[in-house]
């Protein structure tokens, strides 16, 4: 007659283990954030670059690891070793850009076009100041909107 409570305890234990395993598996396999569906901060390439140069603390707080909509003029279009499209947007510094790695390659994009790119900002990579190479502000997993 006392076997029922023991059975119930075992069942509850097994159920908890199964729930824990399913939760762990789901979390471990959680997909990356969908950039296209994430709310974005609006800015433009010139201002974005400027704030990273003039106030890096503010820039990091406001923009790093955030999804941005960046409006800018295309300076160059190329392809990296992974065959991902790299679009550089003009800034006020001739040798520096907002460097956007595209998730899906944008068709028909040309130098001089005005574009709106949405992507994840990973920050400013410093370049080599003592050798005169300015850094870029980097956006990854970008999509073109206009």
């Amino acid at each position: 007659m006392e076997t029922r409570p023991i059975k119930n305890t075992i069942l509850i234990f097994v159920a908890l283990v199964v729930i824990a395993l399913i939760t762990g598996y789901t979390l471990w396999n959680k997909p990356h954030m969908d950039i296209r569906e994430t709310e974005a901060i609006e800015t433009n390439a010139v201002n974005l670059y400027k704030i990273f140069i003039t106030d890096s603390t503010e820039a990091k707080t406001t923009y790093v690891n955030k999804v941005l909509n960046v409006f800018g003029i295309v300076k160059s279009v190329s392809v990296n070793q992974e065959h991902q499209q790299i679009i550089l947007l003009k800034t006020s510094e001739p040798d520096a850009s907002v460097n956007c790695t595209m998730e899906g390659n944008a068709v028909g994009i040309r130098v001089g076009d005005q574009v709106l790119l949405k992507g994840l900002c990973v920050g400013y990579s410093g370049g080599e100041a003592d050798m005169g190479l300015p850094g870029d502000v980097f956006l990854v997993r970008c999509y073109r909107f206009t």
């Binding site: 471990w28 959680k30 990296n80 070793q81 790299i86 460097n99 920050g123 990579s125 370049g127």
Partner: protein
Amino acid sequence: MRKKIIYSAVFFLFTICVEGNCFSQEYFTKNGRISFFSKATLENITADNNQAISLLNTQTGELRFHVLINAFHFPKAMMEQHFNTDYMESEKYPSSKFKGTIAEINKVDFSKDGSYKVNVNGSLEIHGASKNITGVGAISIKDGKLSATSVFKIILKDYNIDIPSIVINNISQQIEIIVSCQYEKRMSN
């Protein structure tokens, strides 16, 4: 008088060249590729970063890298999150740097197609800790385009990267780093 003008002109040009570094041959990329691989019991760990900045001086052999840690992209979101928060603390140490030299760079003929094995040494800074490293790489010149590759290993302990005890047996202490860059010539300094 004429000699004086010529001497002045030569001196002027020399000054401009030194100031403007016109004798140097610098190549750079802002989209170099750095990957790493770690063998793990449950699942191998790989990540790619295609946003590495690198500068190579083909006259002096000086070689530099600057890499944003949070630009490493993992197949799984959870891996990326753990990498940034638990292991690399990317908010505190946002970038990794290498400053070194390619030994005997004068043995590489940058004027014609070819592939050259080179030795690299320098200081690698990861997670706020610096360590001198040496490694082997390859420089290739094809149709006037310069590319470089290298594969080397680092030990996590050398850079004060702690692995939580719960997963210490699942993650290798040694990480393989794969570097691959396609450089372009700097047109101005």
